[in-house]
């Protein structure tokens, strides 16, 4: 079954012309044939994962576009004219410049009972990640892989995480999708082949949501996995970027995300520059994609520096405590 997805040919959804995947490690997202006569623009309806070593398409999940153009007249609050996301002086709504990240703060080892845990704040988005394992397979044994560990992810949002109380903290469509994305990201990053027939559980909870939930989850989970001592190829750092006025904006906050920006989420293994996950479901001109991915990678590298610092500081603290 898995093999089938490996061989899935990439072809334009519109004109059905097959597009050769260049033998590259970084993969370009090509869903529509760039020469497709139907569409100058394309809808990114696809989610691509690259297994970093082999450098080929891991798995293509096609998704249907949900409602082509959403009529949003009632989403706008009150009397407000649309927000100016990037002023002429180059400042964003919250005073950052286009490439600047929000303030990242993190702590590792916040829970003693779990094998690994971390708390991460990226601006007002706050997430808690907990890792159990690797341990024996629980539940159905049929999922066991004889050559590697299985990663199990669960994403949820606290009921108090949004401005209005959330009815259903997990298990809805969005959360399930997010869980799947996390799983795919970490399968690409964790050296699962070291733990055959076992399972690693990653639980992530958003405590406060202010945009970029996916990337914050990935960053928090990375720290938790490191805290659990599970070997990874590299830190996985994620960041969202949006595209406004021909300028890529790094690390979008909620106001920007909801302001009708086409945004792209990218998870990167910074040292090799390999993409663990790339996701976009907005409309964007093909010409801008390269620049956007470039900006996202720069942002991810910025995040990786912060994470690295956090890990080093944590190690220092731990070594001081253990009296070494």
């Amino acid at each position: 079954m898995r093999k089938k997805t490996y061989q899935l040919p990439l072809c334009c959804c519109r004109c059905n012309v097959g597009i050769p995947i260049a033998d590259c490690i970084q993969i370009r997202l090509v869903i529509y044939n760039p020469k497709c006569i139907y569409y100058k623009y394309f809808w990114a309806v696809c989610l691509a994962i690259v297994l970093p070593e082999k450098g080929r398409m891991g798995n293509v999940v096609r998704r249907r576009t949900r409602g082509a153009l959403r009529c949003s007249s009632f989403e706008v609050c009150g009397n407000m004219a649309g927000l100016e996301l990037l002023s002429d002086q180059g400042y964003r709504l919250d005073g950052r410049k286009a490439t600047e990240l929000r303030k990242v703060q993190a702590r590792m080892g916040v829970f003693a009972q779990a094998d690994g845990s971390a708390y991460l704040e990226q601006g007002n988005t706050k997430a808690l990640a907990v890792v159990y394992g690797p341990h024996e397979m629980r539940g159905s044994r049929s999922r066991t892989r004889h050559d590697r560990a299985v990663i199990n992810c669960q994403y949820s949002m606290a009921t108090f995480s949004t401005a209005e109380r959330k009815r259903r903290p997990h298990g809805d469509r969005k959360s399930t999708e997010m869980s799947l994305h996390l799983k795919q990201t970490f399968e690409a990053a964790v050296m699962t082949q070291l733990y055959p027939r076992s399972q690693i559980d990653i639980y992530v909870k958003i405590l406060q949501s202010d945009g970029g939930n996916y990337s914050v989850c990935v960053n928090a989970a990375t720290l938790a996995v490191i805290d659990a001592g599970i070997p990874m190829r590299d830190y996985v750092c994620a960041c969202t970027v949006g595209f406004v006025d021909e300028t890529p904006l790094a690390d979008l906050c909620y106001a920007e995300e909801s302001g009708g920006v086409s945004s792209l989420a990218l998870a990167l293994l910074p040292r090799g520059g390999q993409i663990a996950l790339l996701q976009m479901d907005a409309r964007l001109h093909q010409d801008h994609l390269e620049a956007l991915i470039e900006a996202a990678m720069t942002a991810c590298k910025g995040v990786s520096k912060v994470l690295d610092e956090v890990v080093r500081q944590h190690l220092e603290e731990v070594s001081v405590l253990s009296g070494e």
Binding site: C71, C77, S87, Q89
Partner: protein, 948 residues
């Protein structure tokens, strides 16, 4: 370089939601001054020697205007004298929020290098950000933020300044409280007005603009409140208010009339002028009007005014426009004038039109301009403005609050991109309320099953006329043939003439879905290249259509006439016929003219033609009018469906032959059904126009020394026939065109509800429509009535109910009118397509009307009417003198009056994609500054040969 502090800014929106946003404060925002040595800016915007020559400030200074100063004195800021201004982010945001046009202008100034305007992002600066204090209003907080920023600047410049030039910052404000507070904190404050007055070398416009103190606020109440329904009703009862339907003017958005239906026949029109008086009424609403005192009555203005303001803040201009209206009105005869006090019933529907995207790119509020000029622009909220721009969209009105200049609405759906033929056709169908969806399954279920044939049961009830030499004569390409004729000599030497009309009422039974649909549609609508059927195509083009050589059911009207065309006997019967030929007018004409042809059909046609001529003469003697209007016909390319040529329709003898017999049949049937059902016959009348309608015609004729009598139809017809001017052969046609414009609309009515049956145009005491049941619903009703009258069919309750009948007649009148408008619009659109492909043309035409600022020119070659404006926005108006009596219009030295021959260039004006129009400009007579040089019109390029 980045020192980020996390501040939390809480804002409330929608009353309940709490929004938490991060707010980063920075220490890398520079002051932008050349003087400053502290800030590490790359290029300073503000100059070192920032001196505006002013009496007030003799030292170099930077100006910091507050929000209100920017909003009200933007013209001053635009002046080149004003340089070195610091625009604070707070101010910029407030301006953006309150007035889009001013914001746009401000941004333009900022982008201009020579102006040295610097935007200081004070809200994100570490030292100038302030938090709102408890109990402080947002405005007060912003004022404080402006003061804090000013203070920061003055201190910053003081410390950084090495030389003692004494560079200062000056806060400009008009607000008393703000001034006081600023002075307390020892800032330099000036009232904007004085500081401007004291600028040396300032020019006149300065002073004028500075004084203007109009408010720009969204909460201002623009319109008076509508009265509650109970008070309106009481007012109507007591006679202080009048109830009527509101009709906005097409040419002038500040003017409208309310049509008040009085008791019986008399109805009055009340003029409404000015935004306040119009009070948010929208075209076709039912409104309550209060008459103004007689001394405030005005006359409708002859000025063409279009609402072209950029956004909501064009109050000032509007006031001027309103004033202009009044002045022009004062001279002329005034009409009853009133103001709207309340709306009794809104008749809002979704409107087609296009979006004017707001000047602020991210803005979600945009104005929508309906295709119909009588509908005001509508404000909608959408985030898809970039997608919707350039598309035809539909918008529905939600409401019109009293503080809003425009009604609020929402986006309904998109019809497609503007200018495409399908989209435009859809728009004009929707705009004219033409039901044009496909027929529903319920309707189609009542169609007869195919293959269909006439059964013996049908034959029993019908007369077999299959042996007669019946033929039909129609325009070319006609597939819905609803009439056929025959004529034969009887043994007694008289002639038998038969008119056979498709028996649609046999297929459409009363009360079923198909009948209801047809009653609602009322009429088939013919557009250029498209037909919107009233009944499904199987009936209209096949089973009902009296095609040649097939057996068809018909309703026949058969007369016995002598050779003087006197009717000796009239007989109606349901029948079965078999048409021997379906001819076009041209073919029939050829047969009649070709002496070598002597077959039955030709004989029959000759007989008919002979009788028709006599009938026509008799009719004209009785006073029937022959009017004229130019109809055009397009030659449409069979593949692209683009019009390739345009010509006026020509009329042949056979046209009038068919017409005469149709008239005869209609009159005979009208008489018959009225005799049988005096209470509920569906008839058609054409009221005589009131004498005042003829004014324009009389004046026009007088200018050529021709006398026209309008006492009766006969007198009019005779004087029109006699009206000839030597050397002006087209004069008569023009006069007839004008006469047509004077006429009233013919209408359907129910005989039980009315007493005046006269048909003015046809000079017939009674008239109905019987001959086109495939394309008109009235004819179906008449068929049913006639069938009952001759005991060929049974009756049903609705047919005999005069109130229901009357309601139906109203709907039919409405649909009929709308279909005519739709047809005209379709022709207009195709004319535009035609001229688009042709480029610029020079043509000769005649002045048809003279208006205050324009003449309306008719081009006979294309049957095209266009307006030549003399006052255009972009250039100075020539000297115009309008004389009501002539009516003549004196432009500089040249006098225009009706029927003048002029030469114009015709081109397509696509500058407004919504209302693409044919633009005409004067070539001859040559008036300097007004007329345009004749462009070289290239001979029509030969069609490129196809490359093999």
């Amino acid at each position: 370089m980045l020192k980020s502090k996390t501040f939390v800014k809480k804002t409330r929106s929608g009353g309940v939601m709490k929004i938490v946003r991060e707010h980063y404060l920075r220490d890398d925002i520079w002051c932008g001054s050349e003087v400053c040595a502290e800030c590490k800016q790359e290029s300073a915007v503000l100059q070192r020697d920032a001196c505006i020559e002013s009496n007030l400030c003799t030292y170099p200074h930077y100006l910091i205007p507050d929000t209100n100063v920017v909003l009200h004195q933007i013209d001053v800021l635009e002046d080149p004298v004003i340089r070195n201004v610091i625009i604070l982010q707070t101010v910029l945001q407030e301006v953006r929020h309150r007035s889009a046009p001013v914001y746009k202008r401000l941004k333009d100034i900022i982008h201009e290098k020579e102006k040295h305007f610097y935007t200081f992002t004070n809200e994100h600066h570490r030292d100038t950000f302030i938090e709102r204090e408890p109990g402080e209003s947002a405005n007060d907080r912003n004022d404080r933020a402006i003061r804090v920023a000013t203070k920061w600047y003055s201190q910053h410049l003081k410390t950084s300044e090495s030389d003692a030039e004494g560079l200062k910052v000056v806060l400009l404000t008009n607000d008393q409280g703000n001034t006081q507070k600023a002075e307390e904190s020892s800032l330099l404050v000036y009232k904007c007005m004085w500081s401007m007055f004291s600028i040396r070398g300032s020019t006149d416009p300065f002073k004028k603009l500075c004084v203007s103190t109009n408010e720009i606020t969204s909460s201002k109440v623009l319109f008076p409140e509508h009265l509650p329904l109970s008070r309106i009703q009481a007012g109507i009862k007591s006679g202080s208010f009048l109830q009527g339907s509101f009709r906005a003017s097409r040419d002038n958005y500040l003017e409208a009339t309310v049509f008040v239906q009085g008791e019986g026949e008399d109805s009055t029109e009340v003029l409404i002028q000015g935004l306040q008086n119009l009070n948010r009424a929208v075209h076709q609403d039912v409104v309550a009007v209060q008459l103004l005192p007689r001394n405030q009555w005005v006359a409708p203005s002859a000025v063409v005014l279009q609402d072209e303001g950029t956004a909501k803040d064009d109050d000032a201009e509007e006031e001027e426009e309103e004033k202009a209206l009044r002045i022009s009105a004062a001279e002329a005869a005034s009409k009853p004038t009133g103001k709207i006090v309340g709306i009794i019933k809104r008749s809002w529907r979704p409107y087609c039109g296009m979006l004017n995207a707001s000047q602020i790119k991210e803005s979600t509020r945009h104005l929508f301009t309906p295709a119909d000029r009588r509908i005001p622009r509508i404000r909608i909220e959408t985030r898809q403005s970039s997608t919707l721009a350039g598309q035809r969209i539909m918008v529905a009105i939600d409401g019109w609050p009293k503080h809003s200049r425009y009604p609020n609405g929402h986006f309904v759906r998109s019809l497609g991109s503007a200018g495409e033929k399908d989209t435009e056709q859809e728009v004009l169908l929707l705009e004219h309320d033409v039901p044009h969806q496909d027929f529903s399954q319920a309707v189609l279920s009542f169609l007869p099953k195919m293959p269909w044939a006439i059964t013996p049961e049908d034959m029993v009830k019908r007369e077999d006329l299959r042996h007669l030499t019946v033929c039909s004569v129609d325009p070319p390409g006609c597939t819905d043939i609803d009439d056929a004729l025959h004529c034969r000599e009887l043994d007694n030497g008289n002639l038998e003439v038969g008119v056979h009309i498709a028996d649609v009422s046999h297929f459409i039974r009363p009360g079923n879905a198909m009948d209801k649909e047809a009653a609602n549609r009322g009429t088939t609508v013919y557009l250029c290249g498209k037909r919107i059927d009233m009944v499904p195509e199987l009936l209209s083009s096949n089973l009902c259509s009296l095609r040649s050589n097939v057996e068809r059911m018909a309703f026949s009207c058969i007369w016995e006439m002598n050779d003087k065309a006197e009717i000796l006997k009239t007989r109606f019967t349901k029948s079965v016929i078999n048409s021997k030929a379906s001819l076009t007018y041209a073919e029939a004409q050829m047969r009649i003219d070709d002496t070598t042809m002597n077959d039955d059909i030709t004989q029959s046609l000759r007989g008919l033609n002979k009788l028709a001529k006599i009938l026509k003469r008799q009719r004209i003697e009785k006073g029937a009018l022959t009017l004229s209007s130019l109809e055009v016909r397009f030659h449409i390319d069979s593949e692209t469906h683009d019009p390739i040529d345009l010509q006026t329709k020509e009329l042949m003898e056979t046209n009038s032959m068919v017409e005469e017999f149709m008239l005869l049949a209609n009159i005979s049937v009208a008489q018959k059904i009225y005799d049988e059902f005096p209470d509920c016959a569906m008839l058609r009348k054409h009221p005589a126009p009131p004498p005042s309608n003829y004014d324009i015609l009389l004046k026009a004729a007088k200018s050529k020394n021709v006398e026209i009598h309008t006492d009766s139809a006969k007198a009019l017809a005779d004087s029109l026939d006699g009206a000839k001017v030597d050397g002006f052969p087209y004069f008569n046609t023009l006069l007839r065109i004008l006469a047509t414009r004077c006429m009233m609309q013919a209408v359907y009515f129910c005989s039980g509800m009315d007493s005046d049956f006269h048909h003015y145009g046809l000079a017939s005491p009674i008239y109905t429509h019987f001959t086109s049941p495939i394309r008109r619903y009235a004819d179906i009703i008449v068929h049913r009535l006639l069938a009952v009258a001759i005991a060929a069919d049974s009756t049903y309750p609705d047919l005999m109910d005069k109130h229901k009948q009357s309601a139906l007649a109203n709907n039919l009148n409405y649909r009929h009118k709308m279909s005519q408008y739709a047809q005209r619009a379709s022709v207009a659109f195709h004319t535009q397509l035609f001229f688009k492909s042709r480029g610029i043309l020079n043509e000769a035409g005649y002045v048809l009307f003279v208006r205050k600022n324009a003449i309306i020119v008719l081009i006979p070659k294309f049957g095209l009417e266009g307006t030549v404006f003399f006052d255009t926005k972009d250039k100075a108006a020539p000297n115009l003198v309008f004389d009501e009596e002539g009516p003549t219009l004196k432009v500089e030295q040249h006098n225009f009056c009706i029927f003048d021959k002029v030469k114009v260039t015709i081109s397509l004006d696509a500058s407004n994609i919504q209302h693409q129009k044919i633009r005409m400009a004067l070539i001859d007579p040559v008036i300097p500054g007004v007329s345009v040089p004749a462009p070289d019109v290239e001979p029509q390029a030969k069609k490129p040969k196809l490359d093999r």
